[in-house]
């Protein structure tokens, strides 16, 4: 059995392989460029963790892990186009460095290459994994569409937001784990608990991400604080504030959004604090975190095997106290 860190290193080494042919270079070079921007590679490691929870790592887990990482990068290339983002991790996005047509087609071919790795696995679970991969991939697109829809919509509830986040980010974490479990020969019940562990952990992680964007230490967080507020993003904090704000606060919020004053972030943070959203967000995160752990607990394997997954959860989620 491997620790989370060891699996991370194992995958990094495996992923250094060349994934694309050399020609046509205008199609495949942007793919290589984007992959070397890097990332934490959390999702493929989840597949290895899911496999090793039930059995020794099978080489098929590496194929599926690679497919998942390529799929994730395909979504980033196309999401960057939709968001008109010029930078990712401090590097130029594909449509900025090359052009929109190249980013469109390179993203397409990266998605297709993801399926090429799925096609390599043993036929005994190929159909099941392919179906889960397809379902998840479509859900991620649905989540991205809902996210875009919400930008232009006034009446977004907290439940709408949780549904969107679940689709846009959590289902891929959950499915990455479950695909590993399928390869490891897990029962359907265990597979479902592992999926729910991933789903709820993903939502807890997003609550934390929204929280840190408002209240985080900028040096530690690695992003400018208040970015979501500047962009009027409908986050967990913003939506809850709207739900609990009194009339005066609601008016203030509407004014801040319309008038965009220089101290908008400070003023909005002040309202957030008046409404106690910081404490509320921590409680909500803790709630989803505990649901995740409960599902991990319910998986019928010895607790020693679950240790790397607990490590992962602790790595992703900063706990109060």
């Amino acid at each position: 059995m491997h620790s989370f860190k060891e699996l991370s290193q194992l995958f990094a080494t495996h992923f250094q392989q060349k994934h694309f042919p050399a020609q046509p270079s205008n199609l495949y070079e942007p793919c290589d460029y984007f992959l070397q921007i890097g990332g934490k590679r959390i999702r493929p490691i989840l597949t290895l963790l899911g496999n090793e929870l039930f059995d020794e790592i099978n080489k098929d887990a590496f194929e599926v892990a690679t497919a998942i990482e390529l799929f994730h990068n395909f979504t980033l290339i196309h999401d960057d186009m939709m968001d008109a983002a010029s930078l990712r991790r401090g590097m130029q996005t594909v449509h900025t460095k090359y052009n929109s047509n190249i980013a469109l087609l390179s993203g397409d071919v990266m998605l297709i290459k993801a399926y090429d790795f799925i096609a390599k696995i043993k036929s005994e679970y190929l159909a099941r994994i392919l179906q889960l991969f397809n379902k998840t991939a479509a859900e991620v697109c649905e989540g991205q569409q809902l996210d875009m829809d919400f930008e232009g919509r006034e009446n977004v509830s907290l439940d709408d937001y949780i549904e969107m986040i679940g689709l846009k980010t959590s289902v891929l974490l959950a499915a990455a784990l479950q695909m590993g479990a399928i390869i490891g020969g897990a029962s359907e019940g265990n597979c479902n608990h592992l999926y729910q562990f991933g789903l709820n952990l993903g939502i807890a992680f997003q609550i934390q991400d929204d929280y840190l964007d408002a209240f985080g230490n900028p040096e530690k967080f690695g992003k400018e604080v208040g970015g979501d507020i500047k962009q009027n993003k409908k986050t967990f904090l913003f939506l809850h504030t709207l739900e609990v704000a009194d009339e005066q606060q609601t008016q203030q919020i509407e004014q801040l959004i319309q008038e965009n004053p220089a101290d908008k972030v400070l003023q909005m943070l002040h309202i957030f604090k008046e409404c106690n959203v910081d404490a509320w967000a921590n409680e909500l995160k803790e709630k989803y975190y505990q649901i995740a752990l409960k599902h991990l607990d319910d998986i019928a394997v010895t607790s020693i095997r679950k240790k790397p997954l607990v490590e992962l959860a602790n790595f992703l989620i900063e706990r109060e106290s």
Copy 2:
């Protein structure tokens, strides 16, 4: 056994099913819209033909045929974006009717849904068909990239063009046939001959398409004649003309491209005729058509079973005399 026309009707009925969920409507309604624009549905019928060449039609052939038609429509949605085309078959393209972000994401999800139909087929040939589907899909992207590359390149040879056309359009016809053959239980040798039949027929068809754009009867062709010339497209005719033109003709061509006179189409057609490209194109088409038929001939089944494929070839390729 069914005629080409009967299979066409069978597929049309089958394809009327609902392929997408209702929500999120901004994601799936554009997919439904684009599919109802219609088309000849040649590619899925090829899969049914490929199947029935060797055995009774298996319901898996309909799944694969649906996947291929969805894949083809995904490429059209994204190609329309890359070409900034506002109309297709007289209807608004997706990015024109909705917007670029919606066209991007609807195309993505249509590709993913294509794989969902592949995932339904029997496990005995799932891996083989998935691998062929992936290879073909990547090749179609490569062909599209080469096509875009050629626009900005001066030195495109006829061989470059044939390679590009092969990737961009013919491999999908060839693979559609071969997937049907695999489902029909064909031997590898027969599969390969059928693939080559499709590949060469596709190239003959493209030569004809380029020819008709220049010399076709506009009423019969259904498109404005000379469209390729107006857009300075590097077609079979144009590339061959450049290869055989004398110095004076070459100068004339360069002038026409630079100056874009009102009678450019007439003048270019005049040079085409001086260089005898019309006769040359018909010979080249005939050459590929004959290669295609030779491969069909070499398939080890009784010739009566090949009749629908001969009908198809005759439907696609207009013969002189």
